[in-house]
């Protein structure tokens, strides 16, 4: 018991020291802002060279081409000269988990998953830590929005979409309870070595059974929601949105057969909005996905091939295959150290350029495409008049780490601090040594 007390004290200390607040959220936009002369990457595949973008009341009011500033009233605005620079819509982390875990190995800081296998009622948004130091480290790379997804179990829970400069989770939310996530049964299963089985991956004999469990659960949910609900069933209640079209179903599955089964399952359940997450073998059924209007959150580009014999560049080139086939694709970051690595999202997109896509196509994978899939494209994902002024300016090509240097970032027209816990430490110590950290 002595020991556990000690651990408790330790954990408390940990929590306390992790709890140092992040950068103060930026105030509302009060004056119009004009970004002049930049190359505007609209996010829908088009580019406007030498652009003029005006932000008013948190929205993009104008996106113009050329130098003609007459009548725009620039003198009453804050003008940002951005010639030679690039403007992008804020990048969006699909299938992210930022704000749910602060330090991976510190259990007390982890709110990623809940007990039980069927958890549609579990909502990530209330655990989202708007003051996470990991979240604020996204912004200097142009990553400004993201989905917050619970993990674990068969039905992992309900996600929401947030922006990354907020006082609290209510302030952060962009779309509440946007969808429900499931892990599709695996076609392979590891042998239970502790029972003397070969620990290797063998075909999962329970696959059909596990699919049936899921089917039964969906059927039960539908029946419940059709009836007069004599007794409240919280999980079934949470499922309702899948059947009335207000929630999207995200199915994590990688293999060709599993993807096919999952799509057919969703169709037969009458779920209207379906996205396959992971989707390592989705390119093999790309036409099928396209024909069924299924979008894809493609697994982390910077990952190793799943199989020894796979082409070394398989994870790099999957996006190209799917985009060419006409599938709506966004990139997702799940995997080891995914939260801190989410700031590398632009470079995941950049890699897909090295392996076949155009830069503007790649940009769509982290802007307009995730916005469409997440159902926030009315406000986010492109630089279009009337949409939220959620964008940033980079000195160079933001998809390449060599040139991604963000100088300004805005969420709903609010100019964000680009300082972080990390930049502050960098400053403290470069001052100590009297060295310069800029070019």
């Amino acid at each position: 018991m002595k020991n556990s007390k000690y651990i408790y004290t330790l954990l408390t200390l940990v929590c306390f020291s992790l709890g140092i607040a992040q950068q103060t959220p930026a105030p509302e936009q009060t004056r119009d802002i004009a970004i002049v002369g930049a190359t505007a990457h609209i996010g829908d595949g088009t580019v406007v060279e030498n652009s003029m973008i005006i932000l008013s009341n948190g929205k993009i009011s104008r996106v113009l081409e050329g130098n003609n500033n007459d009548g725009l009233g620039l003198q009453s605005m804050d003008v940002i000269e951005a010639k030679g620079k690039h403007v992008y819509p804020g990048f969006i982390v699909a299938n992210g988990t930022l704000g749910l875990v602060e330090v991976d190995a510190v259990k007390a800081s982890n709110d990623l998953s809940e007990l039980g296998a069927f958890n549609p009622h579990i909502r990530s948004i209330i655990a989202y830590n708007a003051e996470s130091k990991v979240v604020e480290s996204m912004r200097p790379n142009g990553v400004l929005l993201g989905q917050v997804v619970p993990r674990g179990g068969r039905i992992t829970g309900t996600s929401s979409v947030v922006q990354y400069d907020a006082w609290n989770w209510e302030d952060a939310v962009v779309k509440m309870d946007d969808g429900i996530h499931i892990n599709w049964p695996n076609s392979f299963r590891r042998g239970r070595w502790w029972l003397g089985e070969d620990p290797g991956l063998k075909p999962n004999k329970d696959y059909a059974k596990e699919v049936k469990e899921l089917t039964d659960y969906f059927n039960e949910s539908k029946s419940y929601n059709k009836g007069n609900k004599p007794e409240v069933h919280l999980p079934f209640e949470a499922m309702a949105g899948l059947f009335d079209g207000t929630k999207r179903l995200y199915i994590n599955v990688d293999d060709e057969k599993g993807i096919t089964d999952a799509v057919n399952f969703a169709k037969s359940q009458g779920v209207e909005h379906v996205t396959i997450v992971g989707a390592y073998e989705a390119h093999k059924v790309a036409d099928f996905l396209k024909n069924n209007n299924i979008s894809v959150f493609l697994r982390r580009v910077h990952s190793r091939p799943n199989n020894e014999d796979d082409d070394y560049d398989t994870p790099f080139k999957l996006a190209k295959h799917l985009v060419d086939a006409g599938v709506l694709v966004a990139l997702e970051p799940s995997g080891q150290m995914e939260r801190m690595n989410s700031r590398n999202l632009p470079f995941y997109a950049g890699t897909t350029v090295a392996y076949g896509l155009s830069k503007e196509q790649a940009l769509q994978l982290i802007t307009s495409n995730p916005a469409k899939i997440l159902g926030i494209d009315d406000r986010f994902g492109t630089l279009e008049e009337g949409k939220s002024a959620t964008l940033f300016i980079s000195e160079g090509d933001a998809l390449d780490m060599r040139t991604n240097k963000v100088t300004h970032a805005f969420i709903d027209g609010r100019q964000l601090s680009l300082e972080t816990h990390q930049t502050e430490l960098a400053k403290r110590y470069s001052d100590k040594y009297n060295i310069e950290l800029k070019d």
Partner: protein, 976 residues
């Protein structure tokens, strides 16, 4: 039978209270047989004369004494029975200990490590098992060597004759004939050390050192283990390796300790047969060939790896390839999932080209000679045990029947040879009805099928002493009436006798054997021919993207490239680079060379190959965490040359890596610094005259902060310091004693630590927070040496000035953080700050995935902290070379340096750049065009193999479910 055996075998000096002591000194003669006296000596129409369990004489004309029982073996063949050198016959596998884990030993008076048990005598746990013996009889074995299959040193093995009618006094041919080893710990002790193969290797080496020291009388206390080890020195030393890679490791340990093991292989020796040959070891070869995978489901089949598919296709060729290469081996039943498959697998090996003579040798004379028992075993020369097999022909033919297996003069009947084999199809007429009768397995488990007018009758059959008894129901199924038949089979091709009908009438019975349909046979032969196995190419390494022929060093001239020299010349535009004899010969403009292949590199970039200071790929184990110091282990022992990540790293422009020990303990193991020469075997990957490195570690991992059961010192950073001070103090004392010329007990751990003190070995230390970084520098300074590299070093920026003063370099991650508490203050500006303060700074991976994009990770030093592009590139090339003391050979493009270069499609720090060629010492190990061809070849080969597997399944052969191959991604924290 029992009485008989007692009278035959009871010992002279044992009293008898069950009757008179009657000794049988009669002879038995086997005449008119074809006798394989040895694999090379065959006597036709010969006689074998035996008495009292031994061969008296063998030959064409052998004088038969009067008191002889004569057995006529006309048409039959005699072979010496087989010997299995590697079994656990009669020994029950011990059960796993239920104790909790412990660091110290659980016994005293023995070696300090519980897993070393040379004193273990297999006879103490031996219990003759008649059932298992009978199973071995059926496979043709007469004598087996048995041992306790538990522990790293397993003690002595005993040679047992499988004589079911004797007792141990006769059956135990030799109670101490071998000493056994493996890399696997005992299940009966939970002592944590060693937790890895490299730990097992180090333990064995140290044990041999200690045994010498003990034998010389330098140890005052008693160590029964070392005594036993020394006593067993002259026995056959058998090492269970179970794979080619471990076979090489076992032999390495043996060579260093002046022991030549006989090594139990894995069946994959053919993959690097020259290396195996160079060990000069005799192999004990399992023939556990795999069944074809069940590939009918294309989705599942897709998950099969080429290497697993090849193993199915290639393994049956292993014995032949070993024989062709003059590598001596004996065959064993060890490793077979079902012992019954021994014969069918042996036949597979023979069909794949193993000669029958070699096979017989591997089962008889060679094991006998290894055991030093050629006078008793392996042949049928006078004086040998009467251990032999009686067959109806060539023992290595599928259809041959094994009738009897004689051991020490005791017959064990497998099939009745006094009866005639009546297998076949017969026709007869009974009561006006025509019947067809098919008989199978008449000599072992007779089985009959009876048909008439396409109706099958359920039939019971007995067969003995040439008499067949058949009972079957009449056609009228409502009545339970039977027809009984008794017929004699002594005349060839027919059964003669009578049938007793349900009404009691007796009819005469005559069934005639149908002639085997010649047509059928032809078809069968044809089938066999058609299925001549497709023999997949053996590549280096033997998996996808391996080379059928290893690529060679070429003279190459790159024209018109942007060349990043990493030297004073900086970046040269539109320049040429010439590679000759594996070195950079010249860099400049308008170069030409008649003998060089010219490569147009217009618009492309050339850099030095990327060097990863911190990698864990290509290793069979990473951590030896069984103790808080493991300086005695080395990653060089466990390099895995078949890791596909080697190839993937090459495709990312990586040419050299340091494979570091993990961070399980403050003093870790020694590094392997290798070049990624894909296709070469493990030892050839290691740098010549490699600088010597060792991994140290600090912080959360070494204090086991996430373990719920940590009982190992240290558990705080305070303790970590004391571990270092303690070990270095002792190493200093050790080294002083050694240098003084006094005799000393050779201790590898102390030797390695003394190398550090003497500046001959360098530390690369896993480190995170500033306090511990500072601490280790102070400890080093106290002992008058310098820490070479802090790796990870995520708070290096907080003590960069101190690091510079100490003279230590930093090898860090570009932007990792937030994965554990001690990286809370990790910042991506770390590399830039350390660099700008003047610390030699590298960026490393510690991750097989990131390793293939290290050029991009270097670019992050431009983004975070404004390092110049040239200096950033150096962080993954020249700077790690400096930290590894290799900058005189690699890391920059300079005349005379190794030609380790990368041709990039674009600016090398750009996300858009791909490595098009990765060259090491003039050899193009990765080529983006060749890679495309390989992809096609892999696809083709896999589909051919899948076809073959489908054929096997259609032939009704056994299949196994698909297995998905996966390789664990090893990190610092990986606990093995």
């Amino acid at each position: 039978m029992l009485m008989c055996s007692v009278s035959l075998f009871s010992q002279d000096y044992f009293p008898s209270n069950s009757g008179v002591i009657a000794k049988n000194s009669n002879y038995t003669a086997f005449i008119n047989a074809t006798i394989h006296v040895s694999p090379t000596e065959i006597i036709s129409n010969g006689t074998l004369l035996i008495r009292k369990g031994k061969v008296v004489n063998v030959g064409k004309s052998v004088k038969i004494p009067d008191n002889t029982t004569v057995i006529d073996l006309s048409g039959k063949t005699i072979y010496p029975s087989f010997i299995d050198l590697y079994t656990t016959f009669g020994v029950e596998k011990p059960k796993r200990s239920g104790d909790g884990p412990r660091y110290g030993p659980g016994r005293s008076g023995y070696y300090w490590n519980d897993h070393v048990m040379p004193e273990q005598d297999v006879m103490a746990s031996f219990k003759y098992n008649e059932k298992d013996a009978s199973e071995m009889h059926k496979l043709g074995f007469g004598v087996v060597n048995t041992h306790m299959p538990d522990g790293i040193v397993r003690g002595t093995g005993a040679l047992i004759a499988l004589n079911n009618d004797a007792d141990n006094s006769l059956r135990v041919v030799d109670g101490e004939v071998s000493q056994h080893f493996s890399f696997s710990k005992s299940v009966r002790s939970r002592q944590s050390y060693p937790s890895s193969i490299m730990g097992s290797m180090a333990l064995l080496r140290q044990m041999y050192n200690d045994a010498k020291w003990y034998a010389a009388g330098n140890i005052d206390t008693r160590d029964l283990s070392l005594e036993a080890l020394n006593k067993n020195k002259e026995l056959l030393q058998i090492f269970e390796a179970n794979s080619r890679a471990n076979l090489m490791r076992a032999d390495k340990v043996g060579d260093e300790s002046e022991v030549q093991y006989v090594i139990v292989g894995g069946g994959d020796e053919y993959e690097r047969i020259d290396d195996v040959k160079n060990t000069k070891a005799v192999l004990i070869l399992p023939i556990d060939f795999q069944a074809a995978y069940d590939v009918e489901d294309p989705f599942l089949a897709h998950s099969l790896s080429l290497s697993d598919m090849r193993a199915w296709n290639q393994e049956p060729h292993n014995p032949r390839l070993l024989a062709e290469n003059g590598i001596p081996f004996v065959l064993t039943t060890h490793g077979l999932k079902s012992k019954k498959s021994f014969k069918s697998n042996l036949m597979k090996a023979i069909e794949s080209g193993l000669s029958k003579e070699k096979a017989l040798e591997a089962l008889t004379t060679l094991p006998a000679s290894l055991l030093g028992k050629t006078d008793l075993l392996g042949t049928l020369k006078a004086g040998s045990y009467a251990n032999f097999l009686i067959t109806d022909g060539d023992i290595f033919d599928k259809k041959t029947k094994l009738y009897e297996n004689w051991v020490q003069g005791t017959p064990h009947v497998i099939e009745d040879m006094t009866s005639t084999d009546i297998d076949g199809d017969y026709t007869f007429n009974l009561g006006g009805k025509d019947y067809t009768l098919s008989i199978k397995n008449s000599l072992s488990k007779p089985n009959a099928k009876l048909e008439s007018d396409s109706i099958s009758y359920s039939t019971k059959m007995n067969y003995s002493n040439d008499w067949v008894n058949l009972t079957f129901k009449t056609a009228d199924s409502t009545n339970k009436e039977y027809i009984r038949i008794a017929a004699n089979a002594s005349s060839a091709n027919s059964l003669n006798g009578k049938a007793i009908m349900p009404n009691g009438n007796t009819l005469s019975f005559y069934a005639l054997k149908k002639k085997e349909e010649a047509e059928d046979k032809k078809q069968k032969d044809k089938d066999e021919e058609a299925s001549q196995p497709f023999f997949s190419p053996i590549t280096y390494p033997n998996l996808a993207f391996g080379f059928e022929e290893k690529p060679k060093s070429e003279n190459l001239l790159f024209k018109n490239a942007t060349i990043w020299t990493n030297e004073a010349e900086g970046v040269l535009e539109k320049a040429d680079l010439l590679i000759k004899d594996g070195k950079i010969a010249k860099i400049g403009n308008n170069l030409s060379d008649r003998n060089a292949k010219v490569i147009d590199a217009t618009g492309k970039h050339i850099t030095a190959g990327i060097i990863d200071e911190h990698s864990h790929i290509a290793a069979a184990s990473i951590n030896e965490g069984g103790q808080n110091s493991s300086a005695e282990v080395t990653i060089e022992d466990v390099i895995d040359d078949e890791d596909i990540d080697l190839y993937r790293n090459l495709a990312g422009g990586v040419t050299s890596i340091q494979i570091l020990h993990g961070s399980a303990n403050p003093i870790g193991g020694r590094s392997a610094i290798i070049k990624l020469k894909w296709g070469e075997s493990a030892d050839n990957l290691v740098y010549d005259n490699s600088p010597k490195f060792i991994k140290f570690a600090l912080g959360e991992n070494v204090k086991q902060s996430r373990s719920t059961t940590n009982m190992r010192f240290p558990k705080s950073r305070m303790g970590v310091e004391q571990v270092f001070i303690d070990y270095f103090t002792r190493a200093k004392a050790y080294d002083d004693k050694k240098k003084s010329g006094q005799p000393y007990r050779k201790d590898t751990e102390m030797e390695v630590l003394a190398e550090i003190l003497n500046g001959e070995r360098f530390i690369s230390c896993h480190s995170y927070v500033q306090s511990e970084i500072n601490m280790l520098m102070k400890v080093a300074e106290k002992f008058n040496f310098r820490v070479n590299t802090f790796t990870h070093i995520l708070e290096g920026y907080k003590v960069a000035d101190k690091m510079k003063e100490h003279g230590v370099g930093g090898s860090t991650f570009s932007d990792w953080w937030a994965y554990k508490y001690e990286v809370n203050d990790a910042i991506p500006y770390n590399a830039a700050i350390m660099h700008k303060v003047g610390v030699t700074t590298a960026i490393n991976s510690d991750d097989a995935e990131m390793a293939r994009r290290l050029n991009q990770e270097a670019a992050k030093a431009v983004k975070y902290g404004g390092v110049s592009e040239e200096e950033a590139l150096k962080m993954v090339t020249l700077n790690p070379a400096k930290l590894l003391h290799l900058d005189d050979r690699v890391g920059s493009l300079k005349t005379g340096k190794d030609a380790d270069i990368v041709l990039w499609s674009d600016h090398p720090l750009s996300i858009y750049a791909k490595a098009e060629k990765t060259i090491i010492e003039g050899v193009t190990y990765f080529d983006i065009e060749r890679d495309k061809q390989m992809r096609e070849a892999i696809k083709k080969e896999k589909s051919e193999l899948i076809n073959l597997m489908l054929q096997d399944k259609n032939k009704g052969l056994k299949t196994q479910p698909v297995v998905k191959k996966e390789k664990e991604l090893l990190h610092c924290d990986s606990m093995d």
